[in-house]
Symmetry: C2
Subunit: 119 residues, 2 copies
């Protein structure tokens, strides 16, 4: 029984798994935005966008500040960094396997060449 859970990672990856939410983050990467502005380019209702924002907020990817009746959303960095670091940990393994693949392809290529141009 191996323990490999992190609610934070769960939430972060799940939040990033939806194209609407990724789009919202991309918009926010160009500066803070309010809910209505964020909703405009997404052909869906305001409540739908509101829900997506709450998911991003719960994942910690976004922070909200109320200025009167408008809510200003700001991109938040830390959780994505954790997600990236999780992926990074596998880097040497897949780099290893990519090297192996590269080597394999070179061998294949060499074989093909000797096949195409036999002495």
């Amino acid at each position: 029984m191996v323990k490999c859970s992190s609610n934070q990672l769960d939430r972060t990856f799940a939040a990033l798994a939806d194209p609407t939410r990724r789009s919202l983050l991309e918009h926010l990467s160009h500066g803070d935005r309010c809910v209505t502005d964020l909703a405009k380019p997404h052909s869906m209702s305001l409540p739908a966008v509101s829900k997506h924002l709450r998911i991003l907020e719960k994942a910690g990817l976004v922070r909200r500040k109320r200025h009167g009746r408008v809510h200003s959303l700001k991109l938040e960095a830390a959780p994505m960094q954790e997600a990236k670091q999780w992926i990074e940990e596998y880097r040497r393994f897949w780099e290893g396997s990519l090297d192996r693949l590269d080597e394999y392809l070179k061998q294949l290529q060499a074989k093909d060449k000797s096949h195409d141009h036999p002495h």
Copy 2:
């Protein structure tokens, strides 16, 4: 109407959003494994693990080779790299904001100092 969808990214992030699946990947990072071996440390039924593996396979994070009745699973690199790169694109934005935060904190500290030790 902004287009920001990638089914591949959807599948990759969704696959990574589950702790059981992340655990399976971690086990696979130490070498190829068959379904039964992968299932052992996870207190859940074999069909459950089988489903998780199919999700990883469909996301392209894992490749399957049948040797007789045992299926050997292998970690696959590329999709994770795409996910990592997606996150990377935000790096300068959050690095920017982290820098700004850092600067802000330094200013705050400086202010406090001059307050504690006025000439």
